[in-house]
Symmetry: C2
Subunit: 192 residues, 2 copies
């Protein structure tokens, strides 16, 4: 078995026999990376998604000015990838990089399809995972519309204090659509 935590995580969503899990985990490949390593980069066909077993990563694209813009983070028990491009087997513009040393379980498109065919119970696990992730994005969009830049920053650090400690400020800025300079300014303001 590749990861007991992964089994525990899936078991929160569906009933899964541990013997069955051992077969399931064979569809995944374990990927260990150090800090600040590129895990995935833009390609003609997005053929992988990743489960974060340990660590912290971000999914980003590079804008016209060469800036890395973070679409989302992933910590333990979250999935990361370009889910539309993966579904359509189309090109992706997204990079994935480790923020901390991380352990991932990657799955290819072919293995994902085979896995769901062979273990249809996992459809429910992924359905719940995507339903939550989609709903969380709706919630995030509300926050982006609702709050000023300053409020957005404090809302993030207040709601996810342990997360904000793990992620460098310039990446939080990137995720919130703020400049690193702006984040420095508001942090200086609360210290003064």
């Amino acid at each position: 078995m590749k990861d007991k935590e992964f089994y525990n995580h899936i078991s929160q969503y569906i009933d899964l026999d541990i013997a069955r899990f051992s077969e399931i985990s064979d569809f995944f490949e374990e990927v260990k990376v150090g800090k600040k390593k590129l895990v995935y980069e833009p390609s003609e066909k997005c053929n992988k998604i990743f489960y974060t077993a340990k660590g912290c990563l971000n999914l980003y694209f590079i804008d016209d000015r060469g800036m890395e813009r973070t679409i989302q983070f992933s910590i333990e028990n979250w999935w990361i990838g370009d889910f539309l491009a993966f579904y359509n087997q189309s090109p992706t513009n997204f990079y994935i990089k480790s923020i901390e040393a991380s352990k991932l379980l990657s799955i290819t498109y072919d293995n994902y399809e085979k896995l769901l065919q062979k273990y249809p119970k996992l459809e429910s696990y992924f359905r719940q995972t995507y339903q939550i992730a989609y709903g969380a994005f709706q919630f995030r969009m509300m926050h982006m519309f609702k709050f000023s830049k300053e409020e957005l920053y404090f809302c993030f650090t207040d709601h996810f204090p342990s997360f904000a400690e793990r992620v460098p400020q310039y990446l939080i800025a990137s995720y919130l659509g703020l400049t690193p300079e702006y984040v420095s300014e508001i942090r200086a303001k609360i210290r003064s």
Copy 2:
């Protein structure tokens, strides 16, 4: 059977016997509304999601200044609702209103759970639906970071011309996080 189009839509994602569909459709309630009618409003427990069989609707919240801010639209064959609050059976802040006269199929939380228990094949249908919707949100986030306000407006109207025709300008503005005045300005600029 409540809606042949709904059957055709589901059949694009999973193999489904038409006789079986007849039983499935009993879990849904048909809702017909005229133009500009409130279909759902904030509540202590989000207990419904909606499939758009016909028409066009928007999901929005009301900000501190009393402005309606559109999180998303739904047209034929899309689902609309607060998917996280529905999953958690928690309060929702979102309203749903019809933009055109619309026909929806609504499902309660209890029926949704029973439906998935009884027809686990539908887990795959919803898994795909949410995977696509989640991925589309990632893509939208990229656009919001990548483009200027003006580019965002033209990107939207260029990519979804038929959609832009159905939706009033002030709602497109609301969806893109722009003011209606700003959209009027850039529209006047291209006409001049």
